[in-house]
Amino acid sequence: MAEIVSLLYQFGTNAAFLLLAALGLIVILGMMNIINLAHGEFMMLGAYAASAAVHRGLPFPLAVLLSAVAVGVFGIVLERLVVRHFYGRELGALVVTWGISLILSQGTLIAFGPFMAPIAIPGGALTVGVYSFSTYWLFLMAICVVLLAGLGWLYKATEFGLQARATMQNAAMARALGIRVERVYMITFGLGSALAGLSGALLAPTTSIAPFMGQQFVAPAFITVVVGGGASVIGGAIGSSSLLSLVETPVSFLMGSFWGSIALLVTALVLIRILPNGVSSLRLRRRTRGARG
């Protein structure tokens, strides 16, 4: 019994980690076809903002919200100044965001030194049998569910969501129909940045807050994104993060975390070969097949 709870908990933490690491990246990629290589640095900025706020006496939840807003605003500024010149030139965007990431990480090192004051992990521990679990990670899992539900609502049920989906499917047509495509892109990039900042702030207590911390999220985030695919943002995110952690969890529990991370990478490569357009294409394919039949 305790073993099952423990495995479920590990599955949840792995999936939550992958989701949080990838969410901002997925939103920007799925809606705008822009690969934001500065994503890890956006998360780093979120963590820095959270740490600064907490150590100025703000309560942690408020600090997290503040960091999300701050990084979101930063993202919008960056979009106006740089990123908007690269719509339709995906590879150019990739290179330019890499340049931004270099500036952000080394600039942070020079401006704030090699370390930022840590944030204590909020919450306590729950005990089941021999195992004990951090309540903070349980909270993070809940946050993931809330975030996904919120995104789903935003894109399915609001005016903005409708416009965004129209823009994603055919920007030229959307523009012809009077949708302000530029504005949709700007808001989407801001939203993706805010999500990255939020994730960075939420994960900040579990890591050491340093200029190059963003790098640890890059590989998992990309793997999640590639496996998820771009067809449906939220479906892909849920599908790939749960699928990947479904493989990683038992392997690392039974054979050690070395084999766990190897399993993660191998699964990703195999999945890409089977589903070149990602997990989200599965659903899409079934839908189109249904329509035909």
Binding site: N14, Y131, S252
Partner: protein, 501 residues
Amino acid sequence: MTDQTPPPETSVDGTAKASGPSRRTVLAGTAAAVGAAVLARPAIVRAASSDPVKIGFIEDQSGNLSIYGIQKLHAAQLAVAEINAGYTLAGGPVGPGVFGSNGLYAPKPETLKTDGAALDVVNDGGAPSKKATVVSDDDEILIKSGENGLLGRKVDLVSADGQSNNQLWQRLARRMIQQDKVDVLVAGFASAEREAIRPIVDQHKQLYFYTNQYEGGVADTNTFCTGAVCEQQVIPVMKYMVEKFGPKVFTIAANYNFGQLTASWVRSFAPVLGAEVIGEEFPPLEVSEFSSVIARVQAAKPDWVMTLLVGQNQSNYYPQAAASGLHLPMASTINMAQGYEHKRFKAPAMANMHNAVNYMQEIPTKRNQDFVARFYKMFPQDPYLGQMAQNTYFSVHLYAMAARLAGTTDQEKVRRTLEAGWTVEAPEGSVFLDPGTHACSHYIRLAVADQQQNISFEREWPSISPWWLTRMGVNLIGKPEHKQYTPDDDPFFKMFAAKKK
């Protein structure tokens, strides 16, 4: 503190037994004094013989490993400033003898009784017995050298930033050796950095000091490894942990050379020390999320955990384990003394951590407190003064002492002089440089972090020698070598290789 600041010249010429505050002002005035001396002298002395002695120094001042590199750089700068201001450390060649034969310090027996109850704790700084000791920990170790600089020349620290990038390390090492033609090279934090530049060092027969704590085994004619090695750290800390907490140990080690090799020391010495390794886990360096590691540890129910985690990602283990309610006693050979995790992480992430260190800035002896004061006088902004910074400090002094005795900076002759068997009075205590293996015996202390992450020293071993290379038959004087031995080369370790996972 009084704000009396005598002119720098007077304090430079002050006696070695100068009182605390006035001696501290020495260093404040050092730079000014050196500058004034250079300005005061006419250009006549700029002959070839008065070219500065060059100490090449490569560390990571930026990138991932900069928290270690900057400490080391500052310690080297302090040592160079002291040499140029006319100071040296106490000590000298004692021949290939044993610790204490220089008559400076004599060992004290272990202070913990076998039942573990009556601790003769020295965390209040204690008063060590004066019996059988010639120089106590309270005596001054920084003494006059009789000249400003080295061999009548100024000492220059030629430093470069390795940026935590091995390829750059190689290019910088080549530049130091071939272009700057440094007289000695002091460099390297990670073992990978040392191994990257060692082929270049050997190719040019460059005198080289590696000052980090490491996995041991380097037997190289041109290299002096002055940090502590596995046999000096793993065995003491394991012995203590087994006595205090029980035999069952779970090892979590970084999956790279240092972690693998140190874990094999733990595994092989467990039967000898009455311990039992009930589980091992080798997370890759990239892993930063540890829930499955924590679950495996909880399932195995060990008495204590050996954590040999390296780098920024892996240090996340500690807050995550604490938040998951994993409060087992921990032992390590690297944490706290290098990356000052007890200062960086919120308590109680590092609570109940035990590490057999050769140095931490909290060591309560007077000689160390003086050293710490000198360091922060020069670098008031620094967050911590750690183990490898102290090693760098005494290594630079040791080089100057040997060159002064050799009467030359000729690298071959200085190396031969260093092979005379030296005792140097370092801030940690007496250090003996073994001629045959180029490794140092160290004063080892068991550092423990309490719930507030304050450090105390629960047990001391005044001299543990680096015996493993001797056991492997290494004698660099009789038989030059350029390799790194690993436990695979020692049949003793093979006996335990097939031990259950």
